[in-house]
Amino acid sequence: MPSWIAGVAKGAASIVVTLLGLLAITFFMGRMLPIDPVISIVGEQADKATYDMVYHRLGLDKTLLTQFLLYMRDMLSGEFGEALFTGNKVSVDLARVFPATIELASFAIAIGIGVGVPLGILAAVYRGTALDHIARFVGLLGYSSPTFWLGLMGLIVFYAALGLVAGPGRIDVAYIDMFEPQTGLLLLDAAMQGEWEVFGNVFRHIVLPGSILGYASMAYISRMTRSFMLEQLGQEYIIAARVKGMSRWRVVRRHALRNILVQLVTVIALAYAFLLEGAVLTETVFAWPGFGRYLTSGLLAGDMNAVLACVLIIGLIFVGLNLLADLLYRLLDPRTR
């Protein structure tokens, strides 16, 4: 068996184990929650007979282990169950909330890359200058800011006081019926259907939360870019190329940048995953009907079906990206070989 197949098999096995562990922890943690999911269905004033009926229907009278196994069986057949706090199938809910978050996160990562990478390169090339210090400080500031607080302040300043951007939500109600979303990514939908007015409105909604999330990932990306770049610029071949008379920017473009590309992609992938986390609080502040808010509402309602599905998906994304990072780390760092 070629070694790469073994590698892949091993990787796949480890993913399965990780996900199982993830599910088990979440499941049992969820059943420990001091929140009774039945109440969100029957209402707080319901009597015992009603309560018992739903309790039984949800299978909560079975043993924990049986519940877990049943849940696993449903999962394997692609059935996430019903989200109690929305009354929908979890899969239906996820199909609705995920695009909103993906759109927000993509907008943010675009800013993160667009600003972060050039900033990181500049800081590395002009190492030790004022530019480097400023870039570093701006980056650290992004690291240190509570994004939900930036969101609140942004709303006060740019929406309430200046009226430059649109308020909470993804789109003005006036446009809700004006067009039928296809992909759920409203910017894309509006552009594809040539609804430029809608596009403008959606843009005005996304620009603030997107920029604030983007700032956080920009901080991370620029910092990593800088350190990768510095490592490259210290290499002998770069010095040699410089000595041979190649211009500074040519060296950066032709050699250094090309060499850090793999690392950079990993970092960006990780930054993207972290955006999903940042979205939890940002979405709360901006009333963004996305995945993060879905997860928190589900958690606060004790709705384990919804929470488990969300955690599984987030877990999948994280595991995949961590695996990638780990692989590259092994490949690139000779010390760990």
Partner: protein
């Protein structure tokens, strides 16, 4: 004193250590941003210690008649929805922030070190099991894991600390493992082993001390994240319980009135920002000082 600290030949182990510390201090002083971070942190500690002097009335002196007053001479940072002085609450809140971050560090660092060094040193199935566990925890975004744990354990500072510590150890373990892998291969470990030292002794006496500097840096850098997570939990109502003047919780209630009374959200938010920024600046500088490999 200065000559003693800079003497070329050290006379004792203590002397050598003191000297190393002194040179580290000088390097830190030279890094302006890091030093600024350091000063903010010291200032925060001073404020926390002097809280009874700075705000003798305590953090929970209510007055319905004085609700939502903007910043003024009497109330530097204004008053909140129950007429409490926000300055006093920020001052007392500093104690809570410090307590949370220290507790998390004290819990998470040993766990991370133990798991990481054990996995790195023993390798094989120990490594596989521990790292799988590590992966499981890493595959949750920190805030979501903490959210789940606090929701299950019940809200409150104690539980928040446990929950955050549970999310904070995996990166430390990963780092410690990586360090251990490089140290394990070195000659002097082999030498110690030939002398007959057991694994526990090797880990505790020879590997852990080598890992400590990078772990300290890592924890300091993570401290900002810890503070933000704690604030996030408070913001979602799952952290400190009222009337505890935890900054995140203050921000959360402040949000309800953010339009009419901007200071309610702005002040605690700034406090959180300043503290986590200070930790980041300081941690950054500390890395330069302690870890000669970087830069």
């Amino acid at each position: 004193m200065k000559t003693w600290l800079t003497a070329e030949i050290t006379t004792s182990a203590f002397h050598a250590r003191a000297q190393r510390f002194y040179y580290g201090w000088l390097r830190l002083r030279a890094n302006r941003l890091a030093f600024a971070g350091f000063c903010i942190l010291v200032g925060l500690c001073v404020v926390a210690i002097l809280a009874p002097l700075l705000a003798p009335e305590g953090s929970n002196e209510q007055s319905l008649a004085l609700r939502l007053r903007p910043p003024s001479r009497e109330h530097w940072f204004g008053t909140d929805e129950l007429g409490r002085d926000i300055f006093a609450r920020i001052v007392w809140g500093a104690r809570i922030t410090i307590r949370i971050s220290c507790l998390v560090a004290v819990i998470a660092a040993p766990i991370g070190l133990a798991v990481g060094t054990a996995a790195g040193y023993f390798g094989g199935w120990v490594d596989t099991v521990l790292m799988r566990l590590n992966d499981i925890f890493l595959s949750f975004p920190g805030l979501i894991l903490a959210l789940g744990f606090v929701a299950a354990l019940g809200p409150g500072i104690g539980n928040a600390v446990i929950a955050i510590a549970l999310t904070a150890w995996p990166p430390i373990a990963r780092l410690a493992r990586a360090e251990t892998l490089t140290i394990r291969a070195s000659d002097y470990i082999a030498a110690v082993r030939i002398q007959g030292a057991g694994p526990l002794r090797i880990i505790l006496r020879h590997i852990v001390p080598m890992c400590v500097p990078s772990v300290v840096v890592r924890i300091t850098l993570n401290m900002a994240g810890i503070i933000l997570t704690a604030a996030g939990l408070g913001f979602l109502g799952l952290g400190a319980q009222p009337p505890t003047p935890e900054w995140g919780a203050m921000l959360s209630t402040g949000r309800q009135n953010m339009l009419g009374a901007w200071w309610l959200a702005a002040v605690p938010g700034l406090a959180i920002l300043l503290t986590s920024l200070a930790f980041n600046l300081f941690g950054d500088g500390l890395r330069d000082v302690l870890d000669p490999r970087s830069e």
